[in-house]
């Protein structure tokens, strides 16, 4: 199966290890992976801020970059939701681009959604000792309707205890420009999220959207709490490597 990666601007620039983990995991499960170099940001920051013309420009470039793709996989629930839900509406009045946007939207999957629902992988050979809790990002959970898939993958990691995050349906307060525009409110929201995370006594926080994780991690660090933060793909791949080195040392 041929898979094209949409790595998102955030992962590309700040969290390349997430993209790398996705590449390796997909390859392990038989995918041929490519990365179209002409890709840009999905346009979500512009779209959510009301700059729809600029969002359309980004969308067109992304559609062009992936025009030959069979499947498009992204390690971000919110970018995948942006493409699936808002690309078709962005071009609702544009005869030329409407269909292209829809066709593209139909090919886009969030990483864990693709692993579980398309590749039918819900268990990986991985081990990682620790107590983890999972943050459901709003756009992935509500916009894309994906919530059980990443948890299934996580639960397959041996040695990892996965505990429920109380009030998991609450937003972490990121919200793109909201985090700076309405900084005071955003801070209260992330503080509440941190409180809930600490209540689980987990030492690992996992999520499927680096934007939210960046927000929570930034606050955890500032407050000095030693909770490790992982993208789900990153933790899975870390676990796979540990499992393999255990296997080889056992021989």
């Amino acid at each position: 199966m041929r898979v094209s990666l949409f790595i998102t601007c955030l992962s590309d620039c700040f969290f390349p290890r997430v993209g790398q983990a996705v590449v390796h995991l997909l390859r392990r499960h038989g995918c041929e992976v490519d990365f179209p170099l002409e890709q840009v940001c999905c346009g979500q920051p512009a779209y959510n801020s009301g700059y729809h013309e600029e969002a359309r420009t980004a969308a067109k470039q992304l559609i062009r970059a992936f025009k030959n793709a069979q499947y498009v996989v992204s390690p971000s629930g919110s970018c995948a939701a942006m493409i699936r839900h808002y690309y078709p509406t962005l071009f609702a009045a544009d005869d030329e681009w409407r269909d292209k946007a829809q066709q593209f939207a139909d090919k886009v999957y969030e990483f864990s959604q693709f692993m579980v629902n398309i590749l039918k992988v819900s268990s990986v050979d991985a081990c990682y000792e620790g107590r983890a809790t999972y943050h459901h990002s709003c756009h992935m959970m509500r916009g894309l309707g994906v919530s059980g898939e990443p948890l299934r993958l996580l639960q397959s990691i041996k040695g990892l205890e996965v505990v429920d995050l109380p009030y998991h349906q609450d937003c972490c307060g990121f919200g793109g420009t909201f985090a700076v525009k309405m900084k005071e409110i955003s801070e209260q929201m992330v503080d509440e999220k941190v409180e809930h995370i600490l209540a689980t006594q987990a030492n690992i926080l996992v999520g499927s959207d680096m934007a939210c994780l960046m927000n929570i991690q930034g606050r955890l660090r500032r407050l000095g709490y030693p909770v490790q933060v992982f993208h789900v793909a990153e933790l899975l791949y870390e676990g796979v490597q540990r499992y393999e080195s255990l296997q080889s040392s056992a021989i």
Partner: protein, 477 residues
């Protein structure tokens, strides 16, 4: 213009955030309401089907609003009532004032009505020397405190028992115990006389049934019954979108209202009124006047915002909104608070006083997910932002940044260059662990309370070109 809270938005937010009591009580209330709603949804079993049906009913009604308003008005008149269509706040209140003068009214008793709040009825009545008394416990409390409602269904949600006891003590002229039943008893006692002596009763209207010209009121206190039956004249103030075509339709929306609001199956009192007192009736008003208020609602008709008129004012969106939880209802400044207020107020009144409201959301979508009539609230907030951008209301710096963004998106080489530059620009600010705790420019706001990651030494793109496409490094990266 009917700005109700004179402070600017930022200060209203600050007030809310700096009120620990308010935040605690909103937190408790949200927890209670959410739990209730969840339980109610479980009992109902097929909530999604109910939502779909209710949405269809609301959609059909609003699409044919002219027709049903006409049918409703004709039936009210056939029942002996009077109907007045008010296009503006001014027209609505003027009608009421004329009526009050004609009846030589001294006191008016009211049962919760958001429209009368919207049109500032109490103040206008006061100006002509008519005393208006709120009979709903919550409304009575905030009337004494000279405040506005801060929640759609629980208007005094922001007040605690001690504050209420103090307010009541001023009326009583003596100390009162801080005990719920004692306080309720006191209020009831106070209101009893007012009910008996009021010249006019003013109520809202949760739903108006077009096929019979009836109005339906939902309450937990029974005060709506007294308001609408004791005084000789009953005035209904309703938004023009409150219509349902038939009793069967009413059943669907009425089943969802209390379940979505508080988790109740049904409220303690559901009152349906069809016209004033008839010949052999024991009680009831001699006259019934229905004021149907537009006041900006038709701005939404025929636009992409039309479905905001589907709203049944259940408050469910407030009960799940994390922003509302932290800042409280007064921060929204208008009569309607929370997510629905953030959408509705600028539509009713324009952006001039309400520019910030569409941004008072992280777009988490909890409101949309919970709305029993499926109003896409958070999508509307995005569209309102777009309208503001189109009207050039957004800050100049922001416009500049997004123009740059657009240019870079059109030109992948430029985009790549931008990412590279960001890396070099931010490098000097990073600590040993690769985080910034004092960011330059637009990052400053972020790094006041949170660390920010520095760009990676090697971006994904660079890695891919170096090693990724060939299978990655031997160490797995």
């Amino acid at each position: 213009m009917s700005l109700s809270n004179p402070l600017p938005f930022k200060q209203r937010v600050e007030q809310g955030l700096n009120d620990p009591f308010l935040r605690q009580s909103l937190k408790n209330a949200q927890a209670r309401f959410r739990e209730g709603k969840q339980r109610a949804a479980q009992i109902l079993g097929n909530l999604e089907e109910w939502r779909t049906r209710a949405e269809a009913i609301r959609h059909h009604t609003i699409e044919h609003l002219d027709y049903y308003l006409d049918q409703f008005a004709t039936n009210v008149e056939n029942n002996g009532g009077t109907v007045f269509f008010a296009e503006t706040e001014q027209e609505a209140v003027d009608y009421l004032i004329r009526l009050a003068k004609a009846k030589q009214a001294k006191t008016v008793i009211k049962s919760k009505s958001m429209v009368s709040e919207e049109t500032h009825v109490n103040k206008r009545l006061e100006e002509i020397g008519v005393e208006a008394i709120e009979s709903d416990l919550g409304e009575y409390i905030i009337q004494l405190a000279k405040e506005m409602p801060s929640h759609i269904i629980a208007p005094a949600i922001h007040k605690n028992r001690r504050q209420i006891a103090q307010l009541f003590a001023e009326v009583a002229g003596k100390e009162l115990p801080e005990d719920t039943s004692a306080l309720t008893r006191f209020a009831r006692h106070q209101l009893r006389d007012k009910f008996l002596n009021a010249d006019i009763g003013i109520s809202g209207c949760n739903f108006a049934v077009a096929e019979t010209g009836s109005i339906v009121l939902v309450s937990n206190e029974g005060n709506a019954r007294l308001t609408t039956t004791l005084p000789k004249t009953h005035v209904v103030m309703m938004g023009m979108e409150r219509i349902v075509p038939t009793w069967e339709d009413l059943d669907a929306v009425l089943s969802l209202l209390p379940r979505s609001a508080t988790g109740q199956k049904i409220t303690s009192y559901v009152t349906a009124l069809t016209g004033p007192r008839r010949e052999n009736d024991q009680d009831g008003p001699e006259e019934m006047h229905v004021i149907i208020v537009d006041n900006g609602r038709s701005n939404a008709l025929g636009t992409e915002y039309q479905s905001i008129l589907h709203c049944i004012r259940c408050g469910a969106c407030l009960n799940v909104c994390p922003v509302y939880r932290h800042i409280g209802g007064h921060a929204y400044g208008g009569v309607y608070t929370g997510p629905v207020g953030a959408v509705l107020t600028p539509i009713l009144e324009g952006f001039d006083e309400w520019e910030e409201l569409p941004y008072a959301s992280s777009l988490c979508g909890a409101c949309t997910e919970t709305c029993p009539v499926k109003i896409p609230l958070h999508d509307m907030l995005i569209d309102l932002r777009r309208d503001e951008v189109d009207e050039k209301r957004s800050p100049g710096v922001e416009r500049f940044i997004f123009r740059l963004f657009g240019t870079a998106m059109n030109n992948p080489a430029l985009y790549r260059l931008g990412l590279k530059m960001a890396k070099h620009l931010l490098k000097p600010f990073a600590d040993d662990e690769g985080f910034l705790n004092k960011g330059p420019g637009p990052l400053k706001a972020w790094t006041e309370e949170r660390d920010f990651p520095a760009p990676a030494k090697e971006s994904f793109r660079e890695w891919w070109q170096r090693a990724g496409r060939y299978g990655g490094d031997p160490d797995g990266r």
